[in-house]
Symmetry: C2
Subunit: 302 residues, 2 copies
């Protein structure tokens, strides 16, 4: 199960009633934060989420509305007596950004590891979660992220019983290991059923609606993506500053056949994104105009 909490839904400028867009992804005792603008640590506190537990921070790009909360967050994690390292991922230029962060934060008593994403697409594992960074089209290098939690096939007890293998070895087969016993080799496929659908979450903000988003979002359980503007007259602003209209975003969700779509990263000029709800549901029915603190548990389907 993945616990998803969209801490804020604003773009560009934090507002008194709208935190900047940031996502907290929790599963299996692990916590990943995506982006950290000014105020994200307050949004975490408001949602009663502990900053101490964040192991990994994924940065989409280096505009300040996605990074300026890092000094404060890291210091608050320090005050909560975190001692374990934190790993930060982001586009090229991360080392310089962290220099800026440490000038302002000064003393952070735990280790910060950092990894720059150098290719248009890169995957890495955090625990059993496969994360893929994929390039978006913004005014500076920017990445979307997909989170995939695979599901083990069902263990077929009837098939296992037919093997001459003591039960004490079953667990290893179930974990995907090969077992040798009395000169015979046993492989997981002998006891495991058909592949089962895992969970996929995809996050894409600060981008024009490039096909790359759709291909990554295919069949996702949840797509969280940018809806900077709803007013069709804003299309030139969207193109100029490399942002995505709500309608463009809904079309991607429809083509990618996602299960559910959440809009986020609203322009400060858009006071009421809900006014476009009916139109957007006409493009993609299962869309939600997310609010700060929007959350959901994504579970394996039975």
């Amino acid at each position: 199960m993945i616990d998803v909490c969209l801490l804020g839904t604003g773009g560009t400028v934090p507002l008194p009633d709208r935190w900047l867009t940031s996502l907290l992804v929790k599963w299996n005792g692990k916590s990943i934060l995506v982006d950290c603008g000014e105020g994200t640590q307050i949004a975490l506190s408001q949602q009663r989420k502990s900053p101490k537990e964040i192991d990994t921070i994924l940065l989409t790009h280096y505009h300040a509305d996605h990074t300026a909360g890092l000094p404060g967050l890291l210091l608050t994690m320090a005050k909560s007596e975190r001692t374990e390292p934190v790993t930060i991922y982001g586009p090229k230029g991360l080392e310089e950004i962290l220099q800026g962060v440490f000038i302002i934060a000064r003393y952070v008593p735990f280790e910060i590891r950092y990894k720059e994403i150098r290719n248009r697409e890169e995957s890495f594992m955090i625990d059993d979660m496969k994360i893929t960074a994929f390039a978006l089209q913004h005014s500076v290098p920017c990445f979307g992220y997909s989170f995939e939690l695979a599901r083990q096939p069902k263990f077929d007890v009837q098939r296992a019983l037919k093997l001459d293998l003591p039960k004490m070895y079953w667990g290893r087969l179930q974990k995907g290991e090969t077992v040798e016993y009395e000169g015979k080799v046993y492989t997981p496929d002998m006891v495991l059923g058909d592949p089962r659908k895992g969970i996929k979450l995809v996050y894409a903000t600060d981008t024009r609606p490039v096909p790359y988003i759709e291909s990554h979002a295919v069949n996702a359980d949840l797509l969280i993506a940018e809806g900077m503007y709803g007013d069709p007259e804003k299309i030139e602003n969207a193109k100029e500053n490399r942002h995505m209209m709500m309608q463009e975003c809904a079309s991607i969700a429809a083509k990618a056949n996602v299960h559910e779509l959440w809009f986020t990263h609203y322009s400060p000029s858009m006071h009421d994104p809900w006014q476009y709800e009916e139109e957007l549901k006409g493009i993609f029915h299962n869309c939600i105009i997310a609010k700060d603190g929007q959350n959901k548990d994504l579970a394996f389907q039975e």
Copy 2:
């Protein structure tokens, strides 16, 4: 008249219901901001104050709860189409801090001028406001600031009428200029009455209760100062981290004979600073346990 707005009252960590301590001082079309922690731009917005108008930023010291909001504030000022320069004052090390700010903020389209305060006490004028930075005792170099607005003596029409000087010259005498007319020299003291009390505002946070605060706060109309803790058991924390107890702060206000005292910079551990109100009023009667947005117009007294 000085328009004083305490944007936040928190210390160390911004909370969902308490912004970090920051002060906005406005007079005569000029705006000075003192400190800018994470969220200060949101607090400004909540108080319907325009960040665009801030000409000067005074920094007390370089702990992140007093500086980490600078990248966001400067970018929001840029979005509001400010083009005039902004001047930032602070202790030694300001240049490095601003390097960090610009790494995170990246592009700020107006000029930032900066002036490091190198002495234990330094005064400078901003328009007709005399500002004095004075050293406090914190774990890093830290300054308090006093703001003094002088008041011109009253123009004595009866005395002016007795001079052989046409009325068209009166205005220059009133402004403090010397006038020569038909071979005679006229000086301002010939038409001005007794000196009149101006307005004094004093701000001191992040410090032990050193005598220097008292000497600067003497007869101030308003002292805004740190009350990090109210619980007497916290005195060791206060000493160790160089902070001031509410009781210590109230004693300074009493000895300095200030007109009014506002407490600020409450520890995140102190959820209810108002529980100490009665005790504090016993030490200094005219004290206010300030809330975010506490404001007052300081006017010349009649």
